[in-house]
Symmetry: C2
């Protein structure tokens, strides 16, 4: 008998009607001969409401108590989902993170899963013919304190359970119907992918694809869990996230992505001394600013180098606030912030085996009159910094250059 | 070092301000050199809201899942109470019923406590200088399913913890300031009692005193827990519920009570055959109607007896619905329901050692022109059924007859 894990996010269990819809889907999977484990998040804006409550009490809520508080959101969802399945005539039982023994470290608010020690409790209920509903996002540390897993935590619970139970698939129900070759709101020709490799999905997630959180994809990769991202509103197939796709050898570029809300920071005249750059980046990191696409340029022999990097637009104010400090304390000649940039990237594990990908992208962008301001590459990603105004054109150009609209590309 | 258990009901933790008030009270007790364990209920109408949610999903919610759902209410309260205590600068930690190992049977919705198996977790936190906040009303069965204790469940949790931890006192904070000799809204002279015996409190609770639920008083009696019922809004002393009061030998009657919403059912001409009455009461019980004050009267030799009993006014419609059945199937000649009655009672363990209490009550009522329609007595209670219109006068008369307004009565 196969085993399916189904995960429903907060928007998919927002109200009684949607909970009934999720219940029907779980029953359908059970009726076609599978054991079914359902993982649910807190309903709609429940977590926000609980956080509000905490801030009515104190402006600095204790992290352990915050987890004790937030975990109730998923506990409400599992009880209601079990009731809905029972209402529709199928046996069901809900279990909290503590009840399945989902052990984590004690890093409250963003705990990491260590093991699931009461899996027998899940298996026994499945053998009894029940659909088992498990609370996502939560666990317990070795002393039975309640912990939460942080952003994307319910996805992580679902993938971890699928791994532990050796599920044939982990279905992630969401408000999009799969992973696309590019954002279809920008690229009309964008095509829903039948499948994508873990590594590609990880890169797309870091480039802003909201489909799943990186941690759950990593876990899927480590335990080889077949993840199926699909719509909670339709029955059509979504996208499988897997180790190897059938067309892996042929596909050089799987998808393209655009990050629009970037700013480029230019440090002109960085002292050419050991540790100068490290000092700057240390100070930036201390303010909680995430930095990417670092490029060092030497404009003339003996001239002090220029260092460029990108930051998220939301960090620009913080960055401006420390510009004077960087000049005064670290001997940088000038700090310039260019808020008008975007980054277009192409991603594909096929790049490992194919050359000429970068030049094909640069050529296409040049033909489209898009100026490339910076380039960064990794094993399976090529990124170009462009003017923000050119961003969407650059994405469409990259998408067309690699014929991503075609089910089988060159 | 002494140990105090403080219990705050739902109305005492209804909002952030009241939670802060409860937190201050816990800190004050800790500051005067006690270990403090706080038991809290769900905030205000939380439980009602959760029940509503369940009924949006199904008209017949599963009892186990209902407990899983309802237990979240107290979990929210404990987390917020811990945060409030921490905000005020004192160390604190919250623990659920499951975390303290409060084991119950598996009777969902009205489970009974069996033992508390993780008391070490409470003691260790107390030794660390923390105020420990425990979720009332909830436990886990031997298979770690969440259970709830039913009406008055948080009081039961508090008293059970006080017993297990050998607390010097279990303080129950509520919206009244103690136990009175009679309802002060009816009897202006009613006096707040300094102390009352468990048995007396049990009888008053069954006569409608809302202060504490019977089960928690029974538990207090069995484990000799000193219970202090007091106001959450003031600092004045309330009433101690204890095994023996100092004035126990002198006090014959401790308090008087009135149940206004009663109806009397008169079964005329019950067949004088073995089992006839049992058949009637069996059918009544099967409808969930609680019966009290049963009196059998034989009006003439050889005539079939008349049986009177009282029921709650809320059960009158149900009772009327089965009157025809009782006549047709059980051979009772006639069923009459008198909706216009009330019951006045006096309670005191001193009655065990004193005679003449009943006659003193009857005399006083006669002098006040209150007609007594029925009398029932137990070891420490004397009750009279009277016309409902006479109820309040009867209560005032009884109160005066035993000089309950005087701190030391005859």
């Amino acid at each position: 008998m196969g085993l399916t894990v189904q995960k429903f996010g907060g928007t998919s269990v927002r109200d009684a009607e949607l909970i009934h819809r999720a219940a029907r889907r779980a029953i359908r999977a059970a009726s076609s001969g599978n054991h079914v484990v359902v993982v649910v998040s807190a309903m709609g804006d429940t977590t926000d409401r609980l956080v509000d409550l905490a801030y009515q009490i104190t402006d600095r809520p204790n992290r352990r108590e915050m987890d004790q508080l937030l975990a109730t959101g998923e506990q409400v969802s599992i009880a209601l989902t079990a009731m809905a399945i029972q209402h529709l005539g199928h046996d069901a039982i809900s279990l909290t993170g503590g009840q399945i023994g989902l052990r984590t470290d004690d890093f409250h608010g963003r705990a990491r899963i260590r093991e699931i020690v009461e899996l027998g409790r899940v298996l026994r209920r499945l053998e009894e013919g029940k659909i088992v509903i498990v609370a996502g996002f939560q666990g317990v540390d070795p002393d039975f304190n309640v912990t939460t897993l942080g952003r994307g935590g319910s996805d992580t619970t679902a993938v971890a359970l699928a791994a532990a139970l050796k599920a044939s698939v982990c279905e992630v129900y969401t408000d999009v119907d799969g992973v696309y070759t590019a954002d279809p709101r920008i690229v009309a020709e964008a095509r829903k992918l039948e499948s994508i490799c873990y590594d590609e999905m990880l890169e797309l997630a870091s480039l802003g694809a909201q489909v799943m959180h990186s941690r759950s994809i990593e876990l899927g990769k480590n335990y080889d869990v077949r993840i199926h991202v699909r719509s909670s509103l339709t029955d059509s197939e979504g996208t499988y996230i897997v180790k190897e796709t059938a067309d892996m050898q042929q596909v050089v570029v799987r998808g393209a992505a655009l990050r629009k809300n970037l700013a480029r920071v230019v440090l002109e005249g960085v002292p050419d001394a050991p540790g100068a750059a490290a000092q700057v980046f240390g100070a930036v990191a201390a303010r909680g600013i995430l930095v990417d696409d670092i490029v060092q340029v030497v404009t003339a022999p003996d001239a002090p180098p220029t260092i460029n990097f990108t930051i998220d637009s939301s960090d620009v104010a913080e960055m401006r606030g420390m510009a004077d400090q960087i000049v005064a304390e670290m001997g940088v000649r000038h700090v310039r912030i260019d808020e008008d940039v975007a980054k277009v990237s192409v991603v594909g594990v096929g790049m490992r085996a194919h050359s000429g990908v970068a030049s094909r992208l640069f050529q296409a962008l040049r033909d489209a009159d898009v100026n490339i301001e910076n380039i960064s590459t990794s094993e399976i990603v090529i990124s170009c910094i462009v003017r923000r105004a050119d961003g969407e054109k650059a994405l469409r150009t990259a998408h067309a250059a690699f014929e991503l609209q075609q089910p089988t590309q060159g």
